[in-house]
Subunit: 355 residues, 4 copies
């Protein structure tokens, strides 16, 4: 065995072809549920995207997702000089490809209208071509007949709402009353719509986040500021398409983008406490007690507004153990606001560190 | 809440001061043992290194280590025009600093002689100055009297052995006979000495790996080919200095550098099977069965020499799920050589995937 | 002006939309010629590639290229269930898009046959559909009638030549005799064919290198070992399609991949000396003279086989100034072999550093 | 020649030992001047820094600097239990080391007092120990006698000025009147003090930027948001210590940090126009004219407040060619504010693109 062998082994890691491999995103499951990482809004050459459908599945495996929906536009087909319109093409191309890779492909499409009502995704459908009808309400009805989950996309998109603020128009109220609106995007690509948190609470809708990618994922989200795409974390009873659908209809989600988590307080709280563990004090001196907080997740937590004599702010870095030094005279609970877990339009998660 | 808030939160992750935080290296514990990540050979300004002792502890915390030994040279003090010789200086400066950070600092020193016998580290000592004596055997004896673990450093270092091959000189045999030699470095910085595997087996010595760093760790090991420093994984009964010492004397180690693991077969085998888990088949077609292997560790495994009708080679990427497709006509066990787990001078680990 | 402003400015750099921007690759022009960086072999959804043609132009601008050819297969159209065959589609889609970006798109196609003769690119054509004929010689003739430059692709591709060694079959000799073969790929993706250097010299053919990319460039060539795609450097009289064509027919090329340059010695030598400049000695002592070599290019140069009393090896890092220390007793020229500039099947460039 | 050779060549680039190599920072010289990149404020183990003096020179070479000053504290020596105080130690250790590397080491020290007057660097001195006197005015006088350039460090440092705003105290006025204050830091590490721009203009003082590093440069400034340390760009008549001193006394500087440049308008304007070149229009259509702007520097320029019918904002990315599309009806000059070139407390550089 010569020196060269070592070099060769090291190299082989670098040039590995990761085709078919799925990265592990370190995010905890919740009791009774598996946490499915989903991106349910994206495009291919079958509408205005720039890649073939299998690329979307390869990208998602590489990123560690469990499920995607390809949702090409029904009403916008700018490549039809070269590619005949087929609203189910991405599904037909991707279905077996996904199954072979133990990956969930959700059959979807985007109903693409002016605001109001704006753009909507119909997810878990059987035939997108039946939704390609003139009347938008007819399109929604055709989706509902197929059992679809209807998601309102980028509700404050500046091309449709110049002030960036989502508005509930009469047609949205009708959809809510009929039970035809099930979820709304809080994150869409790099945009976010804080007001949606209030709407989702008020009408019991599911908080969603998706990339809406048209180009190449690794080029859009490779930089340090946006290291991963927006995704919906669904707390499902199993890692199946049906269980995912049930979780979405039941509203069991958090959304995740960059280092931000957002969603309903009950899931945010559980999720946070499953990410971290707190050790017993390992040292003390005359003045202080020392203990450690382990964050086993890929999400750093930015704790602020600490009580007097405790650290005013703490960052629990991702996949790291953080040392905490607390003054011995502290007797009240060690409470913090988690600045990057959003639980309402103007609320963040409040937590306590018990050591 | 405005858009800017999101940007600010994201930024705060980047500019985080990680002082006092310890990265989690994803490596499994073994039943009954905690896996301590150790680098037990390094230098500071108190011999020919270029940094202050606390820098070594900060570097190690950042890298996720549990223990280091600072082992400045007894006999080589090139900075003594400016810094008076004090063989215990690094220990005195670092001891409390380490304790406050829940980190194990091992008191050590390097007995620095020509080959034979070459350079040796005395670890777990109480007073290095007592080892600063003329006769090398007297120095060893002073170390042994303090209960030291004696490690032979870089036994094939080209400055001392131009052909790069370690040789067992009479003085080494004497040390072995006296029970004064306990471990030998397999990796030292970027060098490695395959013959040491045979020596360690023959004389029941502990396989070690260390950085021997003189400059700045993050500058030496930041590149893709050498993403982490060489380290000794010790399987200890607890995360304490005493338990580490017991594990080293008992020979319970593997060494880890780049994507290479090396050590005795019994630990290598256990360790590999604790890194991975194998799922039940999730799909099949006329010809093939599909299952997944999950590698929860930071070490990729390069499997080669597969049986006919199974993949000839498989890389189980680190922190990833790998899809395996096997022909249905395969009936014999799915055996592989793990190319990057070295268990002997010319041996690698042989494993079986049971699905 | 507050602190926040600075953070915002810094961020804006990161999130910059680089659409339409062309990176500067630091490679020198030669006297009388501009160095055009070209990748003249790649695929899109119009054959077996996975992206839309405009993606290829965006990728090339981002990488700093001056010219590409999209060369979809004439005889292999696996996506024709969804995309009707149109051999000129990529050209029609890309032509105006390239012009608007001051970028050279070469109209090309790949004549895709078994070995012999293997795969050939016809470049600088007007209508690819005229080449879609049964007889391969008829296809070549149709290309030649359009003034095409004919390039033999991956001549030792293991799918066609299991031993990886290119062979000159009778049909290749006929093409050479007719003057219908103009260039051969030395690099194709990560493969290379050293024997081609001899063939190109013997028959006065042009040395070429291309990516043959089917997926996404930034995913194929983003790692430290393969930081850039293979490219053909053409020494052209102007930055135009016509001048590029003239340069290729005249054989004025070098090829570039990773940190390797290869090609005819006359261009390699000129190119090397235009990359570097040598400073006057800036210091000396009793024993040595010190001078600096500046490498203004993106290519590091690995100099080996130095004369006695000079450094045995020197790396002139890319975009860096390298210090050289030479013993005063050196009187002969400071000659080196440039290990990473290949000028023949078993030859590298020999140079001299004059200080 | 076999395939392995290529792999080996590529690897050799990665593992290159860059000791003694100086990176090229792509920043233009100005007519009659060479642009020296300087960091004139930093610490070593000889005060409260953590590295040996030669590390500072190695770091600076790696970063492409031309000059540094090591400015250990006169009055703060927390390591004196282990290292006897020697105010000239860093200079004595570094002088020859710098000369051998064609690098400018400036002899300096930091006079470290409470605010007012705060901390001051004395640069270009001969003997720091003569400045170690009780009275701060005596210390300044001792520096001036040695011909020193006196720099006021971090004038709004929050440890000394809780509101972060620099204040001109009587002692500062006295220094200005005596001609003993020559420069002030605008950037110190990650802090900046916009008010200093006004002070420097009013009293004709030199604008400075330095890292004030105590730890390891590559760990402090390796992230995307802070890719390089703060530095002073001095426009000097030659690349010598004397010429640098003359340039600083004459006030010919800009400062550079992240993607921000700041300084007097006359230098900022010249510098910007030497970074970029504007091509002739390369295309037009009915509506628009297309031309390119080449930015040959490492600094991106963020142009904002464009005139109507021209792009409202343009980023001229570093080392890139940017395409500009202007409406044909534009007749007035194409003016912009360069958001990241600061020329006053509330001013940025205004420029014009002439195509």
């Amino acid at each position: 065995m010569k020196r060269l062998t070592i070099i060769f082994l090291l190299i082989s890691t670098i040039t590995i072809n990761v085709s078919g491999q799925r990265k592990i995103i370190h995010l905890p499951d919740l009791p009774g549920y598996v946490t499915l990482k989903c991106d349910l809004h994206m495009h291919t050459v079958f509408s205005d995207g720039n890649v073939w459908p299998t690329v979307r599945i390869d990208e998602a495996l590489r990123d560690g997702l469990d499920a995607i929906a390809i949702t090409d536009h029904l009403e916008y087909n700018p490549k039809d000089d070269y590619i005949p319109v087929d609203h189910n093409a991405a599904w037909k191309i991707g279905e077996q490809y996904a199954n072979d890779r133990n990956f969930i492909l959700v059959h979807g499409t985007e109903i693409t209208r002016k605001m109001p009502p704006g753009h909507f995704n119909a997810l878990f459908i059987q035939d997108a071509s039946l939704l390609a009808v003139d009347s938008v309400m007819d399109a929604y009805e055709a989706a509902i007949k197929q059992g679809a989950f209807l998601q309102w996309n980028h509700p404050g998109w500046k091309s449709q709402e110049p002030d960036g603020i989502p508005k509930i128009y009469p047609i949205h109220r009708i959809l809510i009353e009929k039970g035809w609106l099930h979820g709304i995007e809080f994150f869409n690509d790099r945009e976010y719509y804080p007001q949606i948190m209030t709407v989702c609470k008020q009408y019991n809708l599911t908080v969603m986040a998706n990339s809406d990618v048209h180009g190449v994922i690794s080029e859009e989200y490779s930089q340090s500021v946006y290291p991963n795409r927006p995704m919906t974390l669904a707390f499902a009873k199993a890692r199946t398409s049906d269980a995912l659908k049930e979780a979405l209809f039941a509203g069991r989600t958090l959304v995740y983008f960059g280092d931000i988590l957002a969603g309903k307080e009950e899931f945010a709280r559980q999720f946070f406490y499953h990410c971290i563990s707190i050790g017993k004090p390992y040292a003390e001196n005359e003045k202080s007690i020392f203990f450690e907080v382990t964050n086993n997740s890929d999400v750093p937590f930015h704790l602020v507004n600490g009580i007097p004599d405790a650290p005013a702010a703490l960052t629990l870095a991702a996949n790291a153990v953080t040392r905490v030094v607390v003054n011995k005279k502290v007797t009240s609970p060690l409470t913090y606001d988690v600045k990057n877990i959003i639980t309402g339009e103007n609320e963040v998660l409040k937590i306590e560190l018990r050591y």
